[in-house]
């Protein structure tokens, strides 16, 4: 009996069934973690102490080499890139040729400029992953958000969804354009427990690699142990559900290009309102509109039946 019902159900609406399953799956995930996934318990992360960075761009070079990226337009020891501005007067961003960039910020009242390294933050609940309709993204238990170029259709919804504007796209390729972004050196390093290339290459020890939960404790120790040195905020601890990369700074984060309006909710929370209505529409509409049909054609049906009575 059960089997029968199920078969009929699947036969009845293939698309509908899948959409329901999707919504149900989402709901299950939400309830299992009390509405918040919160990340894998032993996920790794990187703590970036921005106050230590001197803007030498060694990490950019290391990333380029490790990921086999094309040669940059300007060599990595050319510091004039800090004066470059893209559209809208914004500083450099990640591109198909660079998974990480360092930008310089001249902050009023600070003796030296502050440098900020920028790459994928590897969210606990990545917006790119949840928006992808071919499941090209995976959040690995080690903490990396990796991408499978073999299934990517190129809709670029992940680029719309990413709150940090991280994913780039190889528009230049006509045959095989794919998303280009930092994968935390998953294939070559993280998988084997080694830190990403940029972390290891840094001569200033700006970045600390470790378990995310340990890094959070370490960061709060640093903030508490050096009163007045850091602003009392660990960027990435809670932003959009928490990220594997986290930042400490001695100037307010909004002065150095960080978005302070992202909120603590992962991006998928904003989509749940819609996902919740999907099963309702699928279940209620058929009966409701058949009912409307019966109601609105009742007069005619009565007319046809009355001679019999």
């Amino acid at each position: 009996m059960k089997k029968m019902n199920r078969r009929n159900f699947i036969k009845g609406s293939l698309a509908g069934g899948i959409a329901t399953a999707a919504a149900a799956g989402k709901a299950k995930k939400a309830s299992a973690a009390g509405g918040d996934f919160g990340g894998y318990p032993d996920s790794m992360g990187v703590l970036v102490d921005l106050t230590k960075c001197v803007g030498c761009r060694t990490c950019e070079a290391a990333c380029n080499k490790e990921q086999g990226l094309p040669e940059p337009d300007k060599p990595f020891d050319d510091l004039s890139v800090f004066d470059e501005h893209r559209h809208g007067g914004l500083p450099r961003r990640t591109t198909e040729k660079a998974y990480t960039v360092v930008n310089r910020y001249n902050v009023e009242g600070r003796e030296h400029p502050l440098f900020r390294k920028f790459q994928c933050n590897h969210c606990n609940e990545p917006a790119c992953l949840t928006s992808c309709f071919v499941n090209a993204y995976t959040k690995t238990p080690e903490g990396a958000v990796i991408y499978n170029p073999k299934v990517c259709v190129g809709c670029r919804t992940c680029m719309i969804a990413c709150p940090f504007y991280v994913p780039a796209y190889s528009y230049s390729s006509a045959i095989n354009p794919v998303v280009k972004k930092c994968i935390m050196c998953y294939d070559t390093r993280l998988k084997f427990g080694r830190p990403p290339a940029c972390v290891e290459s840094c001569p200033q020890g700006v970045m600390t690699f470790g378990k995310r939960k340990d890094l959070i404790a370490l960061a709060h120790e640093k903030i508490g142990g050096n009163p007045g040195k850091y602003v009392e905020h660990l960027y990435g601890e809670r932003e959009v559900g928490g990220t594997s990369w986290m930042y400490l700074s001695d100037v307010p984060f909004d002065k150095i290009g960080f978005d302070m309006h992202l909120g603590k909710e992962p991006i998928i929370s904003y989509v749940k309102d819609f996902l919740a209505i999907v099963p309702m529409v699928l279940c209620i509409w058929p009966a409701l509109f058949t009912g409307f049909h019966l109601l609105s054609t009742r007069k005619q049906a009565n007319k046809e039946e009355s001679p019999k009575a």
Partner: protein
């Protein structure tokens, strides 16, 4: 065409040649009963075809170039604005304007309003072609268009909103093709397919309502992935799907009025008395539907403002754009539709429909492109993007017109196929 009709020419509307027993051949049907030479002549006489020729002369090489040199050649290759005109116009504007299919199916088949029958098929066709060309636009935009079926069969990401859009648009396209089988059957002289579709039409219609509710809404819900990027006045996590769904109702209906008006102006020869005589009455009937959808939309837009407490934004520059959109594209057509209904003026309803269609386009472009990244910078799409979008849209018009010339959409088939 006008000239030919004046000379006594009658386009095909039967299976059998008049005054004989011979059926029309497929070639006759293709050329409307004209000889190929006569057909070519009327093609060249039509000034609109010259405009199309110019569009194609410029557009086709650039469209081909997009596939040879890649998206980087045809667009700004923006990482910040990954979606440009192809999706902004081709998907997000065309899909709501194609909601007429399920609206007319619902009106005629589900609510039994047979008085709207003369325009039902135009509504269905407008839906089918709009969706089909939205998919064409999508294919132009996708990085790897040959992987279009991946979300269906190769690698499934069922929790994503776009997954729902993909499945629903694909399913709904098949529903719409099925709904237009009767018209094709008449032209081709098939009997069984028409009968079969008739027997399942209620199921198809309800499937159409479900699929349309969800994917029209889902197009809005796609932007709930970008809460910080779309301007708050155009963003509402709770109501985004309903804004898109509700506006697609008057969008689709208004587009139907626009298309029927264009048919009345430029394809008069193909409209039969059943269509032409009923059109004013039907236009006003559709206007009633539009006005109800518009007032609902207006209210829910205001509710969204109150829900997220966004009144403060109304005083900014973006607020002026928002107020313009709401006043000129929602309240104005609402008032005009209402006046048209009260004073029984179909012409006024047509004028209102043109404004409402413009309004939908403005609203979608505002959401997708203009207010998107409002905190970063504005970007005007590459000129090649405009050319390609115009070329594809011109093809949409060409196909639309070609179908209206032939299938019994604007006229009733004078045949025995039942």
């Amino acid at each position: 065409m006008k000239k030919l009709i004046a000379e006594g020419f009658q386009p095909i509307d039967t299976l059998i040649k008049p005054n004989t027993n011979n059926p029309w051949s497929w070639k006759d049907k293709l050329f409307l009963g004209l000889t190929p030479q006569e057909y070519m002549k009327q093609l060249f006489r039509n000034p609109f075809n010259w405009i199309l020729a110019i569009i194609y002369a410029v557009g086709i090489p650039i469209l081909v170039g997009r596939f040879i040199f890649g998206l980087g050649w045809a667009t700004h290759s923006s990482y910040d604005y990954p979606w440009g005109l192809f999706l902004g116009w081709g998907l997000f504007v065309m899909v709501p304007l194609s909601a007429s299919g399920f609206m007319m199916g619902t009106t005629v088949e589900l609510f039994g309003r047979k008085d709207f029958k003369p325009i039902e098929r135009l509504g269905l066709l407008n839906g089918l072609l709009g969706y089909f060309f939205a998919v064409v636009f999508l294919e132009v935009d996708l990085g790897q268009p040959w992987r279009l079926v991946y979300p269906m069969f190769v690698s499934l990401g069922p929790a994503a909103v776009l997954f729902l859009v993909a499945w629903h648009v694909a399913t709904y396209l098949s529903v719409q093709i099925a709904e237009l089988v009767p018209a094709t059957s008449e032209l081709m002289g098939w009997v069984k397919p028409k009968k079969f579709i008739k027997s399942i039409v209620l199921g198809l219609t309800i499937a159409g309502i479900i699929l349309s509710t969800l994917h029209q809404g889902a197009l809005g819900a796609l932007f709930t992935y970008a809460p910080g990027k779309v301007h708050p006045l155009w963003f509402s996590a709770a109501f985004q799907w309903f804004h898109f769904f509700c506006s697609s109702i008057f969008g689709g209906l208004s587009m139907l009025i626009v298309v029927s008006t264009l048919s009345k102006w430029f394809l008069q020869w193909r409209c039969d008395a059943n269509f032409s005589k009923n059109l004013d009455r039907i236009t006003l009937g559709i206007a009633k539907g539009c006005s109800m959808a518009l007032i609902t939309y207006l209210v829910i837009k205001l509710v969204a403002l109150a829900h997220d407490n966004e009144w403060g934004y109304l005083l900014t520059g973006w607020g002026q754009l928002y107020i313009f959109e709401m006043t000129a594209c929602v309240i104005l057509p609402l008032v005009l539709f209402t006046m048209a209904i009260r004073t029984n003026r179909a012409g006024l309803a047509r004028f209102a429909a043109f404004i409402a269609v413009f309004g939908i386009a403005l609203n979608r472009l505002n959401t997708v492109l203009i207010t998107f990244n409002w905190q970063l910078y504005q970007e005007i799409p590459h000129w090649r993007e405009f050319v390609i979008a115009i070329t594809v849209y011109a093809t949409y018009i060409v196909v639309y017109r070609a179908v209206l010339y032939r299938l019994p959409i604007l006229y009733t088939w004078q045949g025995d196929s039942k």
